[in-house]
């Protein structure tokens, strides 16, 4: 049997990039099918309309959408199509995926994240499971990501620090904002351990990629210097340079065909003209981000897979994870500061780069004993001016504001104060109320069923969030912030998503084996965040990169 390629990767983000690079460098022929366009450094500008107010990097919702199932006021799960609600669940559909648009705030998981069940015990209503691998198995790949993707940081030991095999990061920290020093001071006075946030942004040039140019517009924006460690800039460009990796943009895979033995034989996709195309390969790797990966497997029925690929026990799509927590905000009013401090606060460009992991594990009788906690990260208000201005378009009575009252509010909003925020990241416990399915009626523009996502959360997540919030808010207070407000909610951040195809040793309760290969499909791997049975309390990207490098080595053999 001949194949078009040795390896076919569906999806070109953080899960696909490491596999493409590793296997192309090892001599395999690789094709990467990406639904979106192939945008490069020369296509990325600091344009708020392109990044954040129009569907340039994500599909138009009337073409492609999701159905989100949430509890209504009477306790029933009700689905609403996102084209109707405007709640966009896409995160970046282009070569490199949403890693193009991350802010690159990177943390590793810690050893205890790999065996949450053994370490902290079960929680009623949550499907907590230990991972089939340990931190030690993944550590070399976390380290590898530091150099391959490029992570800038400075290791500071602290009571909850995870072990690392190298002394420090390969790139020094990115430039830091003057407010970082004030955060440090407040934290230390409170007895906390402020940590420099590692960032997947180059602080000095690497190969074709330039160092960060500190425009101050990073998260949500594509990077024009190449400093941001997107899968495209850091990995795929190099994979293509081997001459053995072909990237096909505008290629929307709608089905993986499988044969009578259950093996995947071909990826079927629509090209830019809407024509159906097929590509064959020996091995298939799916990495479309959690929701779309589950959707693709569920859509890929075959003679041995009547309910979808790898879905013999109905596990595909289950135990979807977001990130739990919330945020707090405090205002810093320039008129109440010295001119020097006000100028410092107005600085635009460098990163705040501060986090707290003092409560990564909780051990407090008041909370109810030992429990998994989370991470706090500090950041200034996003500089996007239109988004900011839109916040004063409506008054408290829900009337439109215009004329001089609008102009006065704009002037005050932009020129009188800055705000500092913190975000709390806790485990989103896996439950039976958070999963991906196929919607029975809504279809995309190619007439295939869209993903239906139920977004239920566990009350325990809020309890953890509130506990950390009570402590994090003290930092803003200590810093002299005014008008401090915070909230912890069970609303899912759609950009922090994992799970749905958890890996494990038992085929009846997991989709993938410890190698992230489907239990019942010998040539199918999943390398995005779908594999995670529990999510940890940090953004997922570093772990996705590391695991994808690990799986790539397994495939390479």
């Amino acid at each position: 049997m001949t194949y078009d390629f040795d390896i076919c990767i569906v999806g070109s983000g953080a899960g696909g990039g490491p596999v493409a690079l590793t296997l192309a460098e090892a001599g395999y022929s690789v094709v990467v099918l990406e639904k979106g366009p192939w945008l490069k450094e020369t296509d990325f500008y600091k344009d708020e309309l392109a990044c954040c107010r129009r569907s340039v990097y994500t599909p138009e919702l009337s073409d492609e959408q999701h159905v989100i199932e949430d509890l209504d006021s009477s306790g029933h799960w009700v689905g609403e199509a996102t084209a109707d609600s405007g709640w966009d669940f896409w995160n970046g559909n282009c070569v490199g995926g949403s890693s193009n648009f991350m802010s690159g705030f990177f943390y590793r998981l810690k050893p205890r994240d790999f065996h949450l069940l053994s370490e902290f015990g079960p929680i009623e209503g949550a499907n907590i499971a230990d991972w089939p691998i340990s931190y030690a198995d993944l550590e070399p790949y976390y380290t590898r990501v530091e150099t391959e993707v490029g992570i800038s940081g400075a290791f500071v030991d602290h009571p909850q620090a995870e072990p690392r095999s190298t002394a420090d990061f390969p790139y020094p920290p990115t430039l830091e904002h003057p407010v970082s020093g004030q955060i440090d001071k407040a934290c230390r006075e409170l007895g906390y351990h402020p940590l420099p946030t590692p960032r997947a942004v180059l602080s000095r040039a690497k190969d074709q990629r330039r160092s960060c140019e500190y425009s101050g517009y990073c998260g949500s924006y594509g990077c024009s210097s190449g400093a941001k460690g997107s899968a495209r800039a850091a990995l795929l460009d190099r994979a293509v340079a081997t001459g053995r990796c072909e990237i096909r943009p505008h290629s929307k895979v709608y089905r993986l065909a499988s044969d009578a033995k259950g093996k995947v034989t071909a990826a079927e996709y629509f090209d830019v003209d809407g024509e159906q195309q097929t590509v064959t390969a020996k091995t298939f790797v799916v990495s479309c981000q959690a929701v779309e990966t589950s959707r693709l497997l569920l859509s890929s029925t075959g003679p041995m897979h009547p309910d979808g690929l790898a879905n013999r026990y109905g596990q595909v799509g289950r135990n979807l994870l977001f990130s739990a927590g919330g945020s707090g905000t405090g205002d810093f009013v320039y008129a109440e500061m010295s001119a020097k401090d006000a100028d410092a606060m107005k600085t635009r460009g460098p990163f705040v780069n501060r986090g707290l992991q003092d409560w990564y594990t909780l051990d407090d009788k008041a909370f109810g004993g030992r429990a998994k906690g989370g991470t706090v990260d500090f950041l200034l208000r996003h500089p996007n001016p239109i988004g900011k201005a839109m916040s004063v378009k409506w008054d408290d009575d829900d009337r439109l504001v215009w004329g001089q009252p609008l102009q006065k509010q704009l002037k005050s909003l932009f020129t009188e104060s800055q705000y500092l925020r913190y975000e709390i990241f806790c485990d989103w416990l896996p439950t039976d109320n958070c999963f991906v399915g196929l919607d029975a009626s809504v279809r995309d523009k190619w007439q295939t069923p869209v993903a239906k996502v139920r977004i239920g959360y566990h009350e325990h997540d809020l309890k953890v969030g509130r506990y950390i919030n009570e402590r994090a808010v003290k930092v803003l207070d200590k810093m002299g912030a005014k008008n401090i407000r915070s909230s912890i909610s069970g609303s899912p951040p759609q950009n922090l998503v994992a799970g749905g195809c958890r890996f494990g040793n038992n085929p009846e309760t997991s989709v993938l084996d410890a190698d992230c290969r489907a239990h019942d499909v010998e040539n199918l791997y999943v390398t995005d965040g779908s594999f995670m049975p529990t999510g940890g309390s940090v953004p997922y990207t570093w772990t996705i990169y590391a695991n994808a490098f690990r799986v790539a080595e397994i495939i390479r053999g």
């Binding site: 366009p37 945008l39 500008y45 344009d47 569907s55 001089q404 002037k411 020129t415």
Partner: protein, 200 residues
């Protein structure tokens, strides 16, 4: 625009600046920037003499009036931005149709209540009418959409036709990012196929 009142008019100001000729180099950057934007700013383009653009531009002026130190709708070229946006190649036509229809409704109401079109009403009459149409869902959506495009005109990159020379950014002491988008990389030319979607 009145030639009376506060010191000199814009036109006079422009003429004086022009007379300075090579001395302009001695002027602070802000004044030079202002000089560059004067020929377009403060006046409505010729195509605004007819509806629907005439009424739309007048509504914009009311929603975002110019005053001392505050750029108004015409200074930020809100109507140019609006036209570029709803008539660009990626627009789906929905907003355009809705905005144009709204002009009809507004003028109908204006005629009914004052026997005059909106464009000739005084400020107080305009305010009353717009607050009245805000009471209906359609009227509210129409005004909300116009305000959204006004704020975009004020603060989006000048490549889109509003915010000339960053006048909106300067007014709000906002530091834009870099690099700025060149004309051939405006959002509707990126990727392909890309169509228009307004996000909340």
């Amino acid at each position: 625009m009145s030639d009376r009142g506060e010191g000199i008019s814009r036109r006079e100001f422009l003429n004086r600046i022009a007379l300075l000729g090579s001395l302009a180099a001695c002027y602070p950057v802000a004044v030079i920037a202002q000089k560059r934007l004067q020929p377009e700013a403060g006046r409505l383009p010729a195509w605004c003499s007819e509806d629907p653009w005439k009424t739309l531009a007048e509504v914009q002026q009311h929603l975002f009036p110019a005053s001392d130190g505050v750029p108004g709708a015409s200074d930020i070229q809100a109507v140019v931005y609006l036209r570029n946006t709803i008539e660009n190649p990626a627009a789906d036509g929905e907003d355009k149709e809705f905005l144009f229809k709204g002009v009809g409704w507004l003028n109908e109401l204006a005629q009914k209540q004052t026997q005059k079109p909106f464009a000739v009403l005084d400020e107080q009459q305009r305010e009353m009418l717009l607050r009245e149409i805000e009471q209906s869902q359609a009227g509210r959506n129409w005004l909300s959409l116009l305000l959204t495009y006004l704020l975009e005109a004020l603060l989006a990159d000048p490549v889109y036709g509003g915010n000339p020379d960053g006048i909106g950014w300067t007014w709000l002491e906002h530091l834009p990012g870099y690099p700025a988008p060149p004309r051939d990389k405006s959002w509707y030319k990126l990727g392909s196929p890309v169509r228009y979607q307004r996000k909340a």
